[in-house]
Symmetry: C2
Subunit: 185 residues, 2 copies
DNA sequence: GACTAATTTGAGGGTGCCCTCAAGTTATGA
DNA sequence: TCATAACTTGAGGGCACCCTCAAATTAGTC
C-alpha cells in the first residue's frame, strides 16, 4: 500500500496547525458560531485552504472539541475519588460548569449539544456511566434527593449555560440551586 | 390644525392590523427574530408595506410587546394580594415563567432583554417596585433567605428561559431551585 | 367618473456568510 | 534544476435577510 507512505507536505501540516490554533482560540472566546472566514483570516490562510483541510464545519469541531472534552474524564474521576458522596457530586458540577465558563465552545457543546456529531456524542456518553454512579452514590448516602433524575442534571446544565452566557455569577446560582431559596429548610 | 383631522385610509388601517396580527403570532411561536418578510407574507402584504407602517423592527416590537407585558401587572398584583408572603412570591415566579413558556417573544423580552427599547424597559421597570415589595415581604416573614438579591431573580429568569428553550420541564426545575437538591434540608 | 393624495408594490442593491473550483504557487524527490 | 503532484488562492455564485424607492394602484372627495 504505497498510498500510506505518501507524506503530507510540510506547508500543509503547518497550515493545518495554524487553522486549528485559530479555531480553538476563536471558539473558546466566542462560541462555535464564529464565521469560517474569520478563522481562516486569523490563521493567515485563505478560505479555500480552510476548506481543503476541513471540508465541513463539523470536521473542524471534531478536531477540536473531543480533545477538550477529555477534561471531563478527569473531572468525573476526581469527583468519584472524593470520599464524601455529596462533596463529590458538587465537585463534579463545579468542575463541569467551570469548564463551560472558561470556554464558550464547551458551553455550546456540553449544554446545548450544538455540534451533535457522533464523535462528540461518544465522548460525552463515555462519561454518562460514571456520572450515573456519582448520582447513585450521593442518593445512597442520603445526601441527594431520591427523585433526582439525569434529566435534572441536563436542565441544570442548560440553565447554568445561560447564566454564564449572561455573565452572571454561576457559582452563586449553583449554590442557590443546591440549597434552595427557602430560608429555614 | 387641519393635519389632525386627516384620517388614515381604510386599507392602510386594515393592513396595519394584519401586520400586527401576523407579527404577534409569529413572535409568540418563534421568538423575536422571525424574518420581516415572513411577517409580511403571513399578513398577505408586501415587504414595502411592512416598512411603511413599521420603519424599524423596534417599532414592531413596541407595538406588540408592551401590551403583552401588561399581563405582568396582573401577575404581580395577584401575587401581592396573596396572604402568605412565600406563596405570593412563588405565585409570581410561576406566573412570569408561565407567561414566558407560552410566548417565545416574552421569553426573549423578559429574560434576555432583547428589544431593550425604552418603551419596553418602562413597562418592566414599572413592576420592579412591586417585585421588590414581594421580595421584602417574603424575607420579612422569614420564608425567603435573607441574602436573596434582585440579581438572583434575574439569573433565575435567564436560567428558566433556557430550560423553556430546551423544552424542559420548567416547573420541575423551579421546584428544585426553590427547595434545593439536598435531601434532608 | 375623474382627480389626487395616500398607500402599496416588488425589483433591486447591500451585507454577511457559505462553499467551489480553475488557475496559480510550492514542496519534494528524482 | 526540473517535473509533478500537492497545495493554496480568492474571485465568484448562492442564499438569506435587510432596506429603499420609483412606479403602479387605490380610497376618498368633489
Amino acid at each position: 500500500m504505497p498510498a500510506e507512505t505518501r507524506s503530507r507536505r510540510s506547508d500543509a501540516l503547518r497550515n493545518r496547525d495554524r487553522l486549528l490554533a485559530a479555531a480553538a482560540e476563536l471558539f473558546a472566546e466566542r462560541g462555535l458560531e464564529v464565521p469560517l472566514d474569520e478563522i481562516a483570516r486569523t490563521a493567515g490562510v485563505s478560505i479555500g485552504t480552510l476548506y481543503n483541510h476541513f471540508p465541513t464545519r463539523d470536521d473542524l469541531y471534531n478536531a477540536i472539541i473531543p480533545a477538550r472534552l477529555g477534561a471531563l474524564d478527569q473531572i468525573v474521576a476526581r469527583a468519584l475519588a472524593t470520599d464524601d458522596p455529596w462533596d463529590g457530586f458538587v465537585a463534579y458540577l463545579e468542575g463541569v460548569f467551570g469548564l463551560q465558563a472558561k470556554d464558550r465552545s464547551l458551553n455550546d457543546a456540553i449544554a446545548r449539544r450544538r455540534p451533535a456529531s457522533a464523535e462528540i456524542a461518544e465522548v460525552c456518553s463515555r462519561n454518562v456511566d460514571q456520572v450515573l454512579k456519582l448520582i447513585a452514590r450521593a442518593k445512597a448516602s442520603g445526601d441527594l434527593r431520591e427523585d433526582f433524575q439525569p434529566m435534572d442534571l441536563a436542565m441544570l446544565g442548560a440553565a447554568i449555560s445561560q447564566v454564564i452566557h449572561e455573565s452572571g455569577d454561576w457559582r452563586r446560582f449553583l449554590d442557590l440551586h443546591l440549597t434552595g431559596l427557602r430560608a429555614n429548610g
